[in-house]
């Protein structure tokens, strides 16, 4: 029982990091059908900014992660207006090529300016300790990830399911053509969503640095996981991405704990089987279902 709960906590905290980073990717890919492989780069940049703020300027951890999110959001907005916009009508191959190119630019830039070695962890002392949770001592940092991830999921849910903007967003994801023809400014909506998604990614990169260590190759190393979340959850589906991220976190953790020699493959087998069963993901929006 103790083991079961431990796996559940480990998996949930890991899944929450994946969720925070990937949710923006899910929504933007669903909304504009842009294959954005540079999403991990925004998470990485957010993490780097937070690390520099904490280590060089002594900014407190929480404030640094918020500032990192804002910076990643601004950067995402600039990139959307200048680089992504001309891509929307270009088809998938140019999108893949250009966004993977952006990844390499980010990797080279961070290697050049900050260096190729992994960055120090910025998890503060008050989080970097064990707390008693009844049945065992457990790392406070992981509990923090679960709480923050849950809070963010709730906020994003409020925005998407309970606000006018969210209603429009869902409409645009389900049927972009119809949304345009009833007078919605879909491209402005996309810019806003893109900024929000990048900000969340930057925040995830910063708070999740204790689980996914920051180094210049971050943008590509973890990209597979972010894309699995999108594919499994269903493009454009907020709820799908939450379910998928948590499932991936828990299944991956449980697999590695119980059968460590196959642990690395179990996840891919399951994803494979699941996509055969539901090629559009667990909870796809109506436009692709």
């Amino acid at each position: 029982m103790t083991q079961f709960l431990t796996i559940l906590l480990d998996g949930t905290s890991y899944g929450m990091v994946l969720f925070i980073i990937s949710v923006g990717l899910t929504v933007t890919m669903g909304l504009m059908r842009v294959v954005n492989l540079a999403h991990g780069a925004f998470a990485m940049i957010g993490g780097y900014i937070a690390t520099v703020l904490v280590l060089k300027l002594g900014v407190p951890f929480l404030l640094a992660t918020v500032l990192a999110a804002i910076a990643a959001g601004i950067l995402g907005g600039l990139a959307e207006i200048t680089v992504y916009r001309p891509l929307y009508r270009k088809g998938e191959l140019p999108q893949v090529l250009l966004t993977i190119g952006l990844c390499f630019v980010a990797i080279a830039a961070l290697t050049f300016f900050v260096g190729p070695t992994p960055l120090p962890a910025i998890v503060p002392a008050w989080l970097d300790q064990m707390v008693d949770i009844g049945f065992r001592l457990y790392p406070a940092y992981r509990l923090f990830l679960i709480v923050v991830g849950g809070l963010l999921a709730f906020i994003v849910w409020l925005i998407i399911e309970r606000s006018l903007f969210g209603a429009r967003l869902r409409a645009a994801v389900d049927d972009p053509q119809m949304a345009r023809s009833v007078g919605m400014d879909v491209s402005r909506m996309f810019t806003i969503t893109f900024v929000g998604g990048c900000a969340l990614a930057g925040f995830g990169g910063a708070v999740g640095a204790g689980v996914l260590p920051l180094e210049p190759f971050y943008a590509l190393r973890y990209l597979v996981y972010f894309l699995i979340v999108v594919a499994v959850g269903g493009m454009g589906s907020f709820r799908g991405s939450l379910v998928a991220a948590l499932a991936i976190g828990i299944i991956d953790t449980a697999g590695r704990y119980t059968v460590p020699q196959f642990g690395g493959f179990l996840l891919y087998l399951l994803v494979f089987a699941l996509l055969l069963w539901r090629p559009n993901g667990l909870l796809p929006p109506k436009s692709v279902a």
């Binding site: 083991q3 431990t6 796996i7 480990d10 890991y14 990797i107 080279a108 290697t111 260096g115 190729p116 070695t117 992994p118 960055l119 120090p120 962890a121 998890v123 970097d128 064990m130 001592l137 790392p139 940092y141 992981r142 204790g210 689980v211 996914l212 260590p213 180094e215 210049p216 190759f217 971050y218 190393r221 973890y222 597979v224 996981y225 991956d252 953790t253 449980a254 590695r256 704990y257 460590p260 020699q261 642990g263 690395g264 493959f265």
Partner: protein
């Protein structure tokens, strides 16, 4: 007899005449400067520049020119392509580099055909030097620098151990070497995991190790993000608090210590180079290295590049700027080097390095995390070579 006399007379004449002219000796180095292994290229380059700053760019008037090639993200086919280009077009006299084993294996055929002396600066799989008679290694093998650790552990209160390695060839070498040394001296292995290379979250593995209640945990992971994540999870999950001794090797190099924070204090590692050792050669090495790049911290890669430069310089000093591959390799493998890491020599048959291996502990000295030697094993050969005398 007569023929060899004439040959050596001609050789002597050639070397005499060439000594009179200033020549260029080219040393081609293939290493990753971009991609996930970029740290190796950077370390090589800083050390080479430091060496030339201290010793000058010429030997007896002959310029030693370094030709760099970036093989990118550990791409072995590129390594071979660059080797051909460097040998045929650049006409390098000596070749070197190779961060990963496949990079070195890929050039074995090329250098054997062209008889190019080739200095391995990292690639640590034991078998590599047997793949071509023109290879010589100044780095290490995994089995070599792990070999004293098992016996050290049993002698220092670690009676049972959990073993956790990345699932790739060097990881298997490290696992085998540690377990054999540990069990031979009476230690008991209570569990072992081989972790796929793509794993990023080590929580479940550390949880297993914690439940095993072993006295010590031996880890081996590729330097960089994977090993950093592994050690952080060890600390965060309270394995240290539970009294478990962390033992590793390259993970605890000084260059990575700032990534961990103070909780790394007390971790044990076994390698062939202690970065803060007080040998005069090392102090000089660190000084010029920091003149070249003030943030540079030396590691296994930089020390290998430094000693490779020493080998090239002494070869040019003794043989002149023109030498055949056989002459160069025969000369190099007979050298002993007073390296910043300690005394270094080569096994003439295997052309592989023989050096001291140090067991170190992370300590905080003057506010800085460094490794401090606690035990030294002298003149360690590669144990794999002795256990597999005929393997190719």
């Amino acid at each position: 007899m007569k023929r060899t006399l004439i040959a050596s007379a001609v050789a002597a004449l050639v070397s005499l005449s060439s000594a009179a002219y200033a020549d260029v000796v080219k040393f081609g180095i293939i290493a990753p400067f971009s991609g996930p292994f970029a740290v190796w290229g950077t370390q090589f380059k800083d050390a080479v520049e430091a060496f030339q700053k201290l010793n000058g760019k010429t030997v007896n008037g002959h310029e030693v020119q370094i030709v760099w090639r970036d093989e990118g993200a550990g791409d072995a086919s590129k390594s071979r392509q660059f080797a051909e280009e460097l040998i045929l077009r650049e006409k390098v006299n000596v070749l070197g580099g190779f961060a990963l084993t496949p990079d070195a294996l890929a050039v074995a055929e090329v250098i054997s055909e062209s008889k190019t002396p080739t200095i391995i600066l990292n690639a640590a799989t034991s078998v590599v030097t047997r793949k071509s008679p023109y290879f010589i290694r100044v780095s290490m093998t995994v089995a070599q620098y792990i070999s004293p650790l098992g016996a050290w552990a049993t002698k220092n209160g670690v009676k049972s151990a959990y073993v956790m390695v990345s699932d790739y060839a060097p990881g298997h070498d490290a696992e085998g070497e540690f377990i054999s040394g540990f069990e031979k001296t009476g230690g008991k292995i209570v569990g072992k995991d081989r972790i796929p290379l793509n794993v990023t979250d080590f929580a479940p593995y550390m949880e297993r190790a914690l439940q095993s209640k072993a006295d010590g945990l031996f880890i081996f992971a590729p330097a960089g993000a994977p090993s950093v994540a592994m050690v952080r999870e060890f600390e965060r999950r309270g394995l240290k608090k539970a009294g478990m001794k962390l033992m590793g090797s390259g993970e605890m190099q000084e260059i990575f210590l700032p990534s961990f924070g103070d909780s790394i204090i007390g971790a044990i590692s076994s390698t062939h180079y202690t970065e803060s050792n007080q040998r005069p050669e090392n102090i000089a090495f660190r000084r010029v290295l920091n003149e070249v790049n003030k943030d540079a911290v030396p590691d296994m890669a930089s020390i290998a590049a430094w000693d490779a430069m020493g080998l090239v310089y002494s070869t040019v000093k003794s043989l002149g700027p023109k030498f055949t591959g056989d002459q160069a390799i025969d000369f190099m493998k007979a050298q002993t080097i007073n390296s910043p890491r300690g005394p270094v020599k080569f096994d003439p048959k295997e052309r592989d390095i023989i050096q001291n291996v140090y067991v170190r502990e992370v300590k905080k000295v003057d506010g800085k995390l460094i490794n401090v030697d606690i035990s030294t094993t002298e003149n360690v050969r590669d144990p794999w070579k002795d256990n597999n005398p005929n393997a190719k």
